[in-house]
Symmetry: C2
Subunit: 480 residues, 2 copies
């Protein structure tokens, strides 16, 4: 299937505040940069949700026949506790608290990042550069900005003069006049404009993570790393740049000023931003200490349910996290898997028979269209639910070829959303289904104690048994 | 137990070619640097063996009550195909073959490195720095060496003048006169002495992995990264520096010249080197294309047997790899585990009874002494074998407290060597043991076919059944 001709992809571009046709510069290779994690704290559910979104974006592009070169960074130096170039380096501050070397903390947190993100099936980017690996290139870019009169030095620190960059703030639709008026009292007096931001910061003597530069010992501002790492690996103009919506006003606005100020070329054609996950109505955030870690959630619900849960909702729709909702996602997930499993048993029984699987079903076409329409996951999910119903229906009717078609379609769609289809072995399935049926029968005869004994036994084998109704029970092995 | 007073550690120091008392500079914190992997190829068994050795060193130090700060690098730039500063960057060359970005290859290989090394229970170092993350610091060190008249520039490249460093070659007992006489014809004519080595190399236009420096675009020589990364995280004098014995003549010799030339201080108090693993009598080596990958070996024998196998031999004894030997290690491993498992069953039966475990056994004392004696693993293993025999003996005699003591001792000793004790659930153990005994009985009655049927059934459950003698059979689940 050459989907390129069939599916016109549209993506919502924060720059234009509208959906646009997606046309990569090189039709054979989409270049994609995603802002990654500042590695000093546990990964929370809001972070993970964002990474799941871009994983689905990459999977969708590949499903629709694009090659993708994907870079996502780790920030391991230069991210201050305060966006206005005040405060401390987040990593150094936390490391001091833990009495660790900052780089020891960084290595630990990168380890934990992959532990959780691998578990929930988020593919690794092609390149995962670290800021500390690109200090020389950052200094190069800053020199270029000074040369182009976009930046100035004050006592060993370098600032970007936002008044020199005509379209500054366009991405965020910033009102620069208001920005000036609203500038906080006591802001760094070295700056020509209150909105100027640091490219390089002079390091105090006691600062650990500092580097030799033409301007003395210092460390890079947070924003410059992403300009450098994206352009180094993907070229001066990216097809897509992604990040959380909290990056629009400062981080991405400054990336544009830096990159375009240095190259004179458009930095990114499409800017995609994912909405927050809130907790009790507030942004889930480490700095607000209002978060649930992804590791906790995986521990509680198993990696597959967590992946399913984070693959719901539209990426631009803000969602409030609740355990109740994850519980309901768990039920939905295992109901879907159950339909597939029951189909699988029939396929196993009929395995000698050759099926000519045809996945060009209307269902897959509708799914593809939904995903090509700015990753409309809720619409795409209708087709996954539909496929599960069809599997049930054709299984009951004994129409196994039709059933098989929908099973393959189901597999493909689940894979685009990165949701694993756990497989129970047929032997297990048969034995446990037998016991589950026996239990339903016993309960219908009023023999509740016998029924509960059977449930307890199945649970002692390591399965979860969950009653959906009086006559419908699902069971599953929860993979942690 | 405060072992510090009890066990005097001795380590073989390549510098003095003798065992020396180990006295860390700070009694509370041993500083240890290990040369790590150049990340462009699969990890082979010889590499893995080296990393297992240093893992055992760290485990031993911790077991004997030392804290350890352990740094092991990844080389992701600057390692040329030829030790004499000729040839290409290994990573860039391989990446070009694969049509990948060099950094994409690096990320893949670091991923695979951890996949295998985590599997065989090698602890991660506290910090795993990458060369590309320390270019600025390398330039700083090179500037210092130029200032100290140890280094000179020729057309954008910087070389170390080995004639300026009085003790050059001491580590390797190099005969510098012979070295000069034997210098290859056609060696780089820019060098003042044929043995001079590159600190910084001018990059040709088409070179990808290059950096801005005071001497133009270039890239660091291989050796400078380890001087920089070790001293950055561990201070100017290390307690212990480790590596493969192939590093003595060039890499470590040059590290000493660089570090001591810059600081004027002794670089490392103790240099430890592990012997090669050979294959068909030749060094196992990527460049010689004479190797078996660790991933292959794990796939074939399971991670635990591989760890057991690589935890044999003295680290300074060269060993020739053979599958036959791994097979014999597999048998030995499962025999040991079997003794422990049988003990475990009795403990489970007696689990209500309180045991006062005493691990201050003579056996553990002898084990500790062996490990404190320059990691004398073969001698230490005698105590592991002895503990397994004692577990058997006390189990048969019904002396469960004694048995329990040796089980705990066994656990501790296995953990120091990093060898996992796989645990079968008692339920499985009981059922399968019953069948195994039935099989032995059937065979003794001449009912070989029935016996084989039972073996096949047990194997169908995913276990390996292995006859050691007519009346002794072991079985195990092989963890991949």
């Amino acid at each position: 299937m050459s989907s390129l001709d069939k599916y016109k992809i549209q993506l919502y571009n924060t720059l234009s505040r509208s959906k646009e046709d997606f046309i990569p510069q090189n039709p054979d290779m989409v270049t994609l940069y995603s802002c990654g994690q500042t590695v000093y704290e546990d990964i929370h559910v809001g972070n993970a949700k964002t990474y799941v979104v871009w994983d689905i974006l990459v999977r969708t592009l590949k499903h629709l026949d694009y090659n993708v070169k994907w870079v996502q960074n780790f920030t391991d130096v230069g991210h201050l506790t305060d966006d206005a170039d005040e405060g401390e380096d987040k990593i150094e501050k936390k490391a001091r608290l833990l009495k660790k070397d900052p780089m020891e903390l960084v290595d630990e947190k990168i380890y934990e990042y992959y532990l959780s993100l691998d578990a929930i099936n988020v593919k690794r980017p092609d390149i995962a550069p670290r800021a500390t690996g690109h200090i020389v290139e950052m200094i190069d870019l800053i020199k270029k900005l000074i040369e182009n009169k976009h930046a100035y030095e004050v006592d060993g620190s370098i600032y970007y003069d936002i008044s020199t960059f005509e379209t500054y703030g366009d991405l965020a639709k910033l009102d620069l006049e208001n920005l000036k008026a609203g500038a906080r009292i006591g802001v760094n007096e070295d700056k020509r404009n209150p909105g100027d931001f640091a490219l390089w910061i002079k390091a105090p003597q006691e600062h650990i993570m500092k580097y030799t530069s033409p301007w003395g010992k210092g460390y890079p501002g947070w924003h410059v790393e992403c300009s450098v790492m994206s352009m180094k690996y993907l070229g001066e103009t990216l097809d897509i740049h992604t990040g959380g919506e909290d990056h629009i006003a400062v981080h991405h606005t400054n990336e544009i000023a830096q990159s375009e100020g240095a190259t004179g070329k458009k930095f990114a054609n499409i800017w995609m931003h994912s909405a927050f996950i809130t907790l009790n109505g507030e942004k889930m955030s480490k700095s607000l200490n209002n978060f649930i870690t992804i590791a906790e959630l995986i521990e509680k619900y198993g990696k597959n349910v967590v992946r399913f849960s984070l693959s719901q909702n539209h990426y631009r729709t803000q969602a409030d996290f609740s355990y109740k909702q994850v519980e309901s996602h768990r039920k939905r997930y295992y109901r879907l898997i159950k339909s597939y499993q029951l189909g699988l048993q029939e396929i196993h029984r009929y395995k000698d028979q050759e099926f000519d699987v045809d996945v060009s079903l209307k269902s897959l076409d509708l799914f593809n269209k939904a995903m090509a329409d700015d990753l409309n996951i809720p619409k795409a999910f209708l087709q996954i639910n539909n496929a599960a119903s069809k599997i049930d229906q054709f299984r009951k009717n004994g129409e196994f070829e039709q059933m098989h078609n929908f099973m393959r379609t189901f597999e493909i769609m689940m894979d685009v959303l990165g949701i694993p289809i756990i497989q129970l072995t047929p032997r297990e399935t048969k034995n446990i289904d037998m016991m589950i049926n026996l239990r339903i029968q016993l309960k219908s005869e009023g023999k509740y104690e016998d029924g509960d004994n059977i449930r307890d036994y199945i649970q002692s084998l390591g399965y979860v048994v969950q009653d959906l109704s009086k006559t419908e029970t699902i069971w599953y092995k929860e993979e942690k």
